[in-house]
C-alpha cells in the first residue's frame, strides 16, 4: 500500500516543517509590543507591559466590524469580535515572538513584535 516514494516525501515534508517551525523561535523579545493591522494597514502598536483594552472599530459600507483586544499581564487576547466564527476569540492569549491572532472575516491581525538583537521581524520565515 505504501511505496518508497511516499516515505521519502513524508520525510522531506516533515524536515521542511521542522525547519520552518524552529526558525521564529530564535531570540527573545526585549520590549514586546502587539501590532494591530486592519486590512494590511497598521491600526496601532501597543506595549504588552501596560494593561489596556483596545477597541478596533471599522466603519465600512458593508457595516460596522468590531474587535476588542485586551492586553493584560504581558499577554494579549481577543475578548470579543463581531464576526461569525469567533475563532480569534477562542484563540488563547499570545505573548511570544511571532505569535499572531487572526480574525479572517474582519481582516484584523494582532501580532507580537518588538526589538530583538538585530531587529528581526516575523518576516524571517518568509524570506
Amino acid at each position: 500500500m505504501i511505496k518508497k516514494a511516499d516515505v521519502i516525501l513524508f520525510i522531506i515534508i516533515l524536515a521542511a516543517g521542522l525547519a520552518v517551525s524552529l526558525l521564529p523561535l530564535r531570540g527573545a523579545l526585549k520590549d514586546p509590543e502587539v501590532r494591530v493591522t486592519v486590512n494590511g494597514e497598521t491600526y496601532g502598536v501597543y506595549s504588552l507591559s501596560e494593561d489596556r483594552t483596545v477597541e478596533i472599530v471599522q466603519n465600512t459600507s458593508a457595516g460596522t466590524f468590531t474587535n476588542v483586544l485586551v492586553i493584560k499581564d504581558g499577554e494579549c487576547f481577543m475578548k470579543s469580535a463581531s464576526c461569525r466564527n469567533q475563532i480569534c476569540v477562542d484563540h488563547g492569549p499570545i505573548s511570544g515572538r511571532g505569535q499572531v491572532i487572526v480574525c479572517l472575516p474582519n481582516k484584523v491581525v494582532a501580532e507580537i513584535v518588538g526589538t530583538t538583537g538585530k531587529g528581526g521581524d516575523v518576516d524571517v520565515i518568509s524570506g
Binding site: 500500500m1 505504501i2 511505496k3 516514494a5 511516499d6 516525501l9 513524508f10 515534508i13 516533515l14 521542511a16 516543517g17 521542522l18 520552518v20 517551525s21 521564529p24 493591522t37 486590512n39 494590511g40 494597514e41 466564527n85 475563532i87 477562542d90 484563540h91 488563547g92 511571532g98 505569535q99 499572531v100 487572526v102 479572517l104 472575516p105 481582516k107 491581525v109 501580532e111 516575523v122 518576516d123 520565515i125 518568509s126
Partner: protein, 171 residues
C-alpha cells in the same frame, strides 16, 4: 458520430461524476457541522478529498477537477459563504494540481498523494489569507498547518486506499 457503447460510457461517467460531487458536498457538510475543536482556521480532516482522490484514480483529471469545483461552489453558497469559497478554491485547486502531478509520476500510493494534497491545500489557503489580509504575519501558522495537512492527508489517504480496493469497476 460516436458509437452507442461510447455514448453509454459517457452517460455513465456523467452520472458517476454527479454522484461524486453530491457525495463530496455531503462530506463538506459533515465537516461544517462537526468542526475540529482547534482554534486555528484551516485545520480540518478534508473528508471531501476522499472523493477527489478516487475520482483522480478512477476517472481523469478533467472530471476530478469539475467535481471539486462543483463541490466548492455549492458548499460555499450553502455553508461557508463567499470568503470561505475563496479559501476553499485556492486550497482545492492547488491540492488537486499537486495530487494529479504526483499521481501521474506513478511513484506514489494514494497515501503519499493525499499527504501532499493536504499540505498543498493548507499552503494554498495560507497564501490566500496573506493576500486577502495583506499581511505576512500569519505565515507563522505555516508549520502548524503543514503538520495538520500532513496528518489529515495521511489519514484520508489510508481511507481512500481501503475504499478504492473495494469499489467495483465503473461500468
Amino acid at each position: 458520430m460516436s458509437s452507442p457503447a461510447k455514448q453509454d460510457r459517457r452517460t455513465s461517467i456523467t452520472a458517476i461524476s454527479a454522484m461524486f460531487a453530491a457525495l463530496a458536498l455531503i462530506f463538506s457538510y459533515i465537516e461544517f457541522l462537526i468542526p475540529l475543536p482547534v482554534p486555528i482556521p484551516g485545520i480540518k480532516l478534508g473528508l471531501a478529498n476522499l472523493v477527489i482522490l478516487i475520482a483522480i484514480v478512477r476517472m481523469d483529471f478533467r472530471h476530478a477537477f469539475a467535481i471539486n469545483c462543483a463541490r466548492i461552489l455549492l458548499s460555499g453558497l450553502l455553508f461557508s459563504g463567499v470568503f470561505g469559497m475563496i479559501y476553499s478554491f485556492a486550497g482545492g485547486v492547488l491540492s488537486i494540481l499537486v495530487m494529479y502531478i504526483l499521481y501521474r509520476t506513478n511513484l506514489f500510493s494514494l497515501v503519499g498523494i493525499s499527504m501532499a494534497g493536504g499540505v498543498a491545500h493548507n499552503l494554498g489557503q495560507l497564501i490566500t489569507a496573506c493576500v486577502l489580509l495583506r499581511n505576512t504575519a500569519i505565515l507563522t501558522y505555516f508549520p502548524v498547518l503543514l503538520f495538520s495537512g500532513l496528518i489529515s492527508g495521511i489519514a484520508i489517504g489510508i481511507l481512500a486506499c481501503v475504499i478504492e480496493k473495494r469499489l467495483p469497476e465503473f461500468n
